[in-house]
Each structure stands twice: as C-alpha cells, then as structure tokens.
C-alpha cells in the first residue's frame, strides 16, 4: 500500500471512530474492570474541590486516559457525565424570540430596539442559532 493510500485509510478510520464516538449517546464506554466515581452525593464544595479549584493540568493532564471513550480526557470527567445522567439533569428549554409578537404584547413598543443596542444580541436570541446537539452539551458540562 502506498503512503498516500495508507494515510487515506488512516483518515477514514479516524473519521469512522469519530462517528462511532458520537453515536454513543449516553453510554460511557470504559475498558473492562474500570469503574467511574459515584458523584451523586457530591455537594457544591466537593464539586468545586474536584474540578474548580484545580490547576488546568489536573483537569486536562498531559495524556488522555485511554480507558475511557474519546469524548472524555479522564475518568473524573466521565464520572461527572454519568452522574448528570443519573441525577436527571436536562437541557434548559430556552425559547427564541419573535420580535413582532413581542411588539404586539408590549402594546406597540419596539422591544427589539432595546436589544439591538447590543451588537449581535438580537441575532443570538432569534431563530438562527436555536438548534442544539444534546450530547455535545452534556459533554461540555462534564468536561469544561
């Protein structure tokens, strides 16, 4: 196999691995025998001690822990992810704004004008960016 073909095959394999990881939905894949921490009873002080008051290199060590699937850098992050799932944390049901109906309800006042004084804010609250991928958000909250 030529170098170019090998590189292409490697790239295809990597892409398939990425797809596989993001098809996993809520299941954390671990190496056999590896256990996650049960954080269901962690209060705010403990959560902060584990992931807030720590150095960046403690939350993202030099090398990734290969015992856990690629969405996570280490077991603790996967533990937070799983605990959020177990505790029933859900996505907040945001709404997007329809300026015309807001204006009507506000008795004709141009509500959008207030928001428009802040560059980008009306667009942020409109339909354009209202889609979300639930698992991306869950991983974000578990790893950030």
């Amino acid at each position: 196999m030529s170098i170019a073909a090998a590189a292409a095959a490697h790239r295809a394999e990597a892409l398939e691995a990425e797809r596989a990881v993001f098809r996993m939905d809520t299941v954390v894949r671990l190496e056999p025998g590896v256990l996650l921490q049960n954080l269901t009873k962690a209060n705010a002080a403990k959560v902060k001690r584990l992931r807030w008051s720590v150095a960046e290199e403690d939350w993202f060590p030099l090398t990734r822990d290969s015992r856990v699937d690629r969405r996570f850098w280490m077991l603790l992050q996967a533990s937070f992810y799983e605990t959020y799932q177990r505790r029933g944390h859900r996505i907040f049901p945001h709404r997007v704004l329809d300026w015309v109906s807001l204006r009507t309800v506000a008795g004709g006042a141009d509500v959008r004008e207030h928001f428009a004084h802040f560059r980008g804010l009306p667009r942020l609250l409109e339909m354009e960016q209202n889609r979300y991928i639930e698992d991306w958000v869950r991983v974000f909250y578990a790893t950030t």
Partner: protein
C-alpha cells in the same frame, strides 16, 4: 473538550463566534462582587437602587412597594419575561425578581452596555459548580452547540450532525400580557390588585 480534542477558548474567541462585543462590565460582579460561584444560590446580592429601577415600574412606585414583575410597565414586563427564557434563565417562582434580573433588565431598557459573554459564562459556571444534590438544567445548549460546530473543521462528520435538519431546535417564545389572567400566581395578582385601576390602565 469536544470531538476528542481539548480546545482552549478565550472570551475574545467566544465573542467572535457569537458576534457580540466584549465590554468591561460584568453584571454578575456588580451584583455578587467577587464571590465564587455558584452565585445563584446566594440570597440577595446588590440590587439596583430604588431611584434607578423605579423607571421600570408603573408610576407612582414608592420605595415601599415590592419589586415584583407584575408591577413593571408593559414594555419592561415583556422584556423581563423574554430575558427569563433566553439570557437569564429562570423557571418557576414567577413572582421572584432577583437583583441580577433587575440589573439585566435595567441595562437592556437603558441601552447600557454589559459583557454578554461574561454573563453567559457566569451562568454556565453557576451550573457547573453547583452540587449534585440540586438538579439543575443545562443552559445555553444552542450557543454551546453553535460554538462547537464552529471550532470543528467544516468537513468533520461531527460538525455535519449540527447542520442536519433533524437537530432539535428551541421553539419560539409566546409572550403574554401582564393583565392576562392565564399568567402568574396569586401573589402576582395580589400585587396588581394593590394598584389603583388608574395605574393599571
């Protein structure tokens, strides 16, 4: 972390992706000082003075009146309710009107700049640092997803997921008028009843 990679995102990068300006005004800092998160659980904080916030309410609005959403002017009420479902997420306890909610409303109505990125990050920090005993909902899912989609190369199969039509979307907010009888709770209505018919009109 996203797509198996660690990304370091500065506030400037986030502002660039979301298309907003960075401003040296943190509303969370003004209300909660330099307190560590989670700030939301703290009682109080510094609310705007009566002198400045009273412009948001039906007049006359003496200092002895409770600052409840039902007493806001129709325009202020609509903006406040819209903010509750978009930027400063609060569900339940509709008669509550925290210092942070008051300050945000005031800034929007008076066109006074504040840092939107700081505001969003502070709300996210609050959720992350809260204990597991409190089941909190994850805010800002659409902005987080948008940022993730922007930091991955366009050809990545991961970011392709975001562009598919099947990706869930948040619905449009349907606002109600302050006098709508389907809205609010008893405390809200009681506050309205305390006002004279002339003020309510």
């Amino acid at each position: 972390m996203f797509g198996g990679q660690v990304f370091g995102l500065s506030r400037a990068t986030i502002a660039g992706i979301l298309g907003v300006d960075l401003v040296d005004v943190s509303l969370h800092e003004r209300v909660y000082g330099d307190a560590d998160p989670p700030c939301r659980a703290m009682i109080g904080g510094i609310a705007p003075s009566h002198e400045v916030i009273s412009q948001c309410f039906h007049q006359p609005f003496p200092a002895s009146y409770a600052r409840v959403p039902s007493l806001l002017t129709p325009e202020a009420y609509v903006v406040h309710m819209a903010l509750q479902r978009t930027l400063l997420l609060r569900s339940g306890y509709p008669e509550g009107f925290t210092g942070l909610q008051q300050l945000l409303l005031l800034h929007i109505l008076t066109d006074e700049p504040f840092d939107i990125v700081d505001f969003i990050l502070a709300e996210i920090e609050d959720v992350i640092t809260d204990g597991m005993g409190v089941v909190r909902q994850f805010p800002c899912a659409h902005w987080i997803s948008f940022i993730c989609s922007m930091i991955m190369p366009a050809e990545s199969p991961i970011s392709g997921v975001y562009r598919q039509d099947e990706a869930p979307r948040f619905p449009v907010y349907r606002s109600t008028a302050p006098q709508d009888r389907r809205r609010g709770r008893h405390a809200d209505r009681a506050a309205m009843a305390r006002l004279s018919a002339e003020v309510q009109a």
